[in-house]
Every structure is written in C-alpha cells, then in structure tokens.
C-alpha cells in the first residue's frame, strides 16, 4: 500500500514530533522544565484541558448508552457504537494525560492500595478506573464481531443490563465529582465559578456536551468516511441539545441570582470577560441558533451550534481550573508551548485511533457505507483542528 503525504498527515507528523520532544523534556528534565506550573499554580493546562475537558468530552458514551439502552430510544441506535468508541478512547487518553501530569506517575497504582475515602480525587480515580473497564467491555463486541466470534458477544449481551446501569452510575458520580474537586477551595476559586452547585453544573454540562459531541463526531466521521448523514438522528440529538442547554443556562442563572451575583457578573473585569466568553459560547449563541427551525433541521447548522457549545464548555472548564485561580495566585498563568504540544499530541493520537478503529472495526453499520474506498486519511479533521488550537487561549 502506498501512503500519500496529504496536508493533514504532515500536520499529524509535526504534532507528533513536537509532542515526543515535549515528552522527552517532561520525563528527563521534570515538570518544572516542561511546564509553567509553579508553587502558585500547581494545577495547569494538563489538569484543565486533558483531565477536566477530556472527561467531559467523553460524556457522549454514557449519554448515548443511556438514551438507547436505558430509555430504549431505538432510533438513535446507529450513534451508540461511535459514541462508546469516542468515550473509550477519551478515557484512555485522559489516563495518558494523567501520566504526564502526575509528579510520580510510576506510583499511580498506589490509588488501589492507599485509599483515602474522604478524598474526592480518590473517588474520581476509582470511578474512572472502573468506568474505563466498563467502556472496554462495551467496546469489545466490535472486536469480536470483526473476527466473527459469536460466543463472547453473547456473554457480554447477558451482562449488558448490569454494564449499562454501572456505566451510567459511575459516569454520574465522577462527572459531578470533577466539580466537587473544587468544593474545598472556597477561598481560592473566584466567586464567579465557586458555588456549592459545582458538582451539579459539571454533571449537567457533561450531558449537554455528550449530545453536542455526538453530533460533532457523527458529522465529522460521515465527512471523513463518505457516509450518508442520518439527518433524523442528528435532528433528534439537536432537539435534546437545545433542551439540555436551556436547563443548564437556567440553573446557572438561578445560581447567580441566588448568590446575588447578577450585578457583579455584568461589571467588566478580567474574570468577567472570560465568563462572558463562556456564557456566550456555551449558552447564548447555540441556544439562539438552535431556536431557529431552519438551523435545527440542517446538518451544517447543527454542526455549527454543537461546535460552538463545545467551545463554550471547554472555556468553562478552563475558567474553573485556571482563570478562576489567577486572582488568588496574584499572577497570570500561561501554559508553556511544551504543555500545549503534549496535549495536541494526545488529541491527535485520539483522532488517529478513532480513524483506525472506524476503518477496521464495524463501528458504523455496514449497510450505511457508500461502496467506494476512501483514499484520504485525516488525522485531524479540518474543522476540528482550529477549534482545538483555540481551546487553550
């Protein structure tokens, strides 16, 4: 097979090369050399993006499994497998990201033997470990089907109800717990983002992101694979996304109202600009867009609204983890290029693995392929790359 050098392959190779260099710096010169983290800013971009955003962006898995298997919405069946694949890859890459961020990653297994039940981080760790295993089992039928192994699929089908309930339970726990991580820092996190409702917001936004991410990733893979778009499915997801965004927006409003913050959030300040950016992208623009029936019924409109809301929720996580601490720390934190490059490498690896998986495994229903070989491998699909590059700004 001849491998053609396309634009996105070149980008992929450059991203990987830079990432490997940063990996070298990380493990041979330490965290201080590779990042701009400091005693004033012990948690940086890797926690903010790789961990908080990574887990959030993988929420599509439990959302779609919940919709299709728990609520038995059969019409969404075709998006479950890609969503589970995205989630599985997302969690694997989150763990890879963690290996970069932890100061002593070789002791990560200590989590299993030295347990502190009072720690939210411990709960997140246990849930993520268990849920990744659940996702792995949910993903396995793809592999078995590929090799025509019928018996193990039957075994998995037998325990499917347990897997589904466990997966959703674990997701509920750790998606919200990522917000609970910050509950112990009322004096450090800026009041725009510190609220006792943080766990609820983290869970609520994860559901909205799960829907948006499914729209994004279905559209993206249909472009890359030359598959026909299942418009009715997307329209249905878009409707659900609109409802989820409204619920999230109303809860956020209620929180600011309840805490008497409405006047403050309207006053211009450094934090307010970031909050406005977040609220505009996660709520105002996508809700406005999706309120038009024309947008809700068009693949491009749905795609645009989803990507904008994803950008908004990524801003939210970065606000909570980085911007919200700058006032306390008394200094700004700007990630070093090596921090970005490690993250980019992980994201690029995710896209490449997704592409490989849909190529070689029956992720998408067979009859929906258009019978022509797709020549181009797109490591980083066009629309995704700019969105991801801006994610850290």
């Amino acid at each position: 097979m001849k491998i053609k050098l396309t634009f996105w392959r070149v980008v992929f190779i450059v991203v990987m090369a830079l990432g490997l260099y940063s990996t070298y710096v990380r493990y041979l010169h330490g965290l201080g050399a590779v990042s701009n983290m400091s005693d004033q800013f012990p948690w940086g971009f890797w926690i903010g993006f790789d961990c908080l955003c990574g887990v959030m962006l993988a929420a599509g898995g439990f959302c779609m499994v919940g919709a299709v298997y728990l609520f038995n919405v059969r019409s969404l069946h075709s998006v479950v497998r890609p969503a589970v694949l995205t989630a599985f890859l997302g969690y694997l890459l989150f763990i890879v990201g963690l290996l970069f961020d932890l100061g002593r990653p070789w002791f990560i297994w200590h989590q299993l033997i030295y347990m502190n039940p009072h720690s939210v981080m411990f709960e997140v760790g246990v849930c993520v470990m268990t849920y990744t295993t659940v996702l792995f089992v949910e993903f396995l039928p793809n592999v078995f089907e590929r090799f025509h192994l019928k018996a193990p699929i039957k075994w998995i089908q037998k325990i499917y109800p347990v897997l589904i309930v466990a997966g959703i339970l674990l997701s509920t726990l750790h998606q919200s717990s990522l917000g609970s991580l910050y509950l112990i820092m009322p004096s450090k996190l800026h009041p725009f983002w510190y609220t006792p409702a943080l766990p609820f917001f983290f869970f609520g936004s994860a559901v909205a992101v799960g829907l948006a991410m499914t729209i994004f990733e279905s559209t993206q893979s249909s472009k890359a694979l030359g598959r026909q778009l299942e418009l009715p499915v997307l329209v249905r997801l878009g409707g659900a996304l609109l409802v989820a965004l409204w619920i999230n927006a109303l809860l956020r409003f209620e929180d600011y109202f309840h805490r008497g913050m409405l006047r403050e959030i309207l006053k211009p300040s450094y934090e307010a600009y970031f909050l406005w950016l977040e609220l505009a992208f996660s709520f105002v623009i996508p809700i406005t867009l999706l309120s038009f029936k024309k947008v809700r019924l068009s693949p491009n409109g749905l795609y645009l609204a989803s990507v904008i809301s994803l950008f908004g929720f990524i801003t939210n996580r970065l606000n909570v983890s980085l911007i919200g601490f700058e006032r306390y720390a008394g200094r700004h934190y700007m990630p070093k290029w090596t921090e970005f490059s490690v993250t980019l490498m992980i994201v690029a690896a995710g896209f490449a693995l997704f592409r490989l998986a849909v190529e070689y495994l029956p992720i998408f229903p067979r009859e929906e392929y258009i019978e022509e070989p797709v020549a181009e491998v797109r490591a980083l699909p066009r629309a995704a790359a700019p969105a991801l590059e801006h994610a850290g700004d």
């Binding site: 330490g30 965290l31 201080g32 609520f71 100061g103 989590q111 030295y114 981080m121 509920t172 726990l173």
Partner: protein
C-alpha cells in the same frame, strides 16, 4: 492534647535563626542567598518576612482539620495525635491536589526533580514525639516562637493581649480559622499584609466539611441511583416486550377472523 507553636511577631527581631535551624533540622542548604529569599519553597519551609521594622513568620499552620490530609487520594498526609501534620513520601503519587487545595498554600513542590516530593514544615515530629521543642522554637533568642500545649499557648496569648492591648491587635490568628490551627499568631498589624489569607475569607468552617457534605451522600446515592436506573431499564424494555406481544396477538387475531370468514 496537641502541641502547637505561638508566634508573637511583636517579639520577633528578624534574626532568621529559625530559618537556619529549620534548614539544619531538615538537612536543607542555607546561605546568605537563601536567607535573602522572602518566599517559601521546596528548600525553605519557613520564612521570616520583613516590612520596615515589622517582621512576620510563615510556615505550615498544622490545621486541626487539615485540608491536605482530606484531599490526598492516597492519604499521604495525616495529623498526628501530638499535633504535627506529616507527609509520607512513599505513598505520594504527585497529583498536587494538596497544593491546589491548601488555604494557606503551604505545600511546595520539587519542580526540578524527576521524582518530586511535596515539601512543607512538618513541625519536627521526631523531636516533638521525643518530648523536645521544634528546632525553630528552641533556637529563637527572644521567645517570639514558643512551643507548648495548644491550650496553654492560647491562654498565654490572651494574657499578652490583655496586658498590652496597645501592642496587639485583639485577635489570635489561627484560633478559629478553618476550625483552628496549631500555629497561633499574635501581631500588632494585620497578618493579611504579609500574605496570610483573611480570616473572613477562609472562615471558621473546617474545609473538609465542604466536600464531606457531598461525599457523605454517596453511600446512599449509589444504591438509590442504581435502583432508579435499573427501574428505567426494566420499564422501557418491558414496554417494548408488551408492545411486541400485543402486535403479535393482533396479527394472529386478524388471521383468525379472516379464517373464520372463509
């Protein structure tokens, strides 16, 4: 009964002998350049800051309800019965949640190391267990840093304020802050000017309570939510079964009536 340190900044002369004794005790380098650093770091667990003729010491507060011990996923921090909050390096995985969460930002990190440790004052636990004072209290020439029982030190601090109300601000920093600390501070100026978090900002609530309110619900939440999810699963699939059975019956019924008409 826990041990504590009382630091009276009005008695401090800024000689920095506590810094040096701390460095010696913890086998850290100490020279003029390090003495001039006005900031705590992985090689400086305590610092004496100078603002004009005022001095202020900073060190780990050894909270009664330590945030670091509460957040650490592997339990690498714990509060000893004698008072010190100590760190078990062999457990640490390096997540730095302690640093992120500590209201006093006391844990520091070995950013340059390939096997980094969290560094902070551990209140000389070996000496304390052996019935000795901490190194800093022992060396202090003016008695500005005093080691003793926490209750005794509180009484003494209150007595000092009572006798010299013009010298001191009428408060003991650390008495109630986030549930009380084992480092108590007396001062003539606001400690906030030296970087301590304001009392009203950190409050009197022990920080582990903020997460405890959520964490304590989990044991109830898990079975309840599993039941709800399982119930939804059962109902939605049962409905489908019923619908399928009904449609089957309907077609069979139609066939029967057709058969009857013939």
């Amino acid at each position: 009964m826990s041990k504590a340190l009382l630091y009276d900044s009005t008695m401090c002369i800024g000689c920095k002998q506590c810094e040096q004794a701390c460095a010696t005790q913890n086998k850290l380098p100490y020279d003029d350049a390090i003495a001039a650093e006005e900031r705590q770091s992985d090689h400086k667990y305590t610092v004496v800051m100078t603002r004009g003729d005022k001095f202020m010491r900073r060190l780990c507060m050894h909270c009664e309800h330590p945030t670091c011990a509460s957040v650490c996923p592997v339990g690498a921090f714990h509060k000893t019965t004698e008072g010190p909050v100590v760190y078990d390096v062999w457990k640490c995985i390096g997540c730095r949640y302690c640093m992120q969460a500590c209201p006093f930002s006391q844990p520091k990190y070995e950013w340059g190391s390939l096997n980094p440790r969290v560094r902070k004052c551990i209140m000389c636990p070996d000496r304390v267990v052996a019935g000795k004072q901490t190194a800093c209290a022992e060396i202090c020439p003016t008695g500005a840093t005093k080691f003793g029982e926490r209750d005794d030190l509180i009484n003494e601090a209150q007595e000092r304020i009572r006798q010299n109300p013009s010298t001191y601000l009428p408060r003991i920093y650390g008495l109630h802050e986030i549930g009380g600390t084992c480092v108590l501070i007396l001062a003539g100026v606001k400690v906030e000017e030296f970087g301590y978090p304001a009392s009203e900002k950190i409050g009197d609530t022990p920080t582990p309570e903020y997460t405890g309110r959520v964490m304590e619900r989990i044991p109830d939440f898990v079975p309840l939510w599993s039941l709800v999810l399982g119930g939804i699963y059962w109902i939605s699939h049962r409905r489908q079964e019923v619908a399928e059975a009904e449609s089957l019956e309907r077609t069979r019924g139609r066939k029967n009536t057709q058969g009857g008409a013939q």
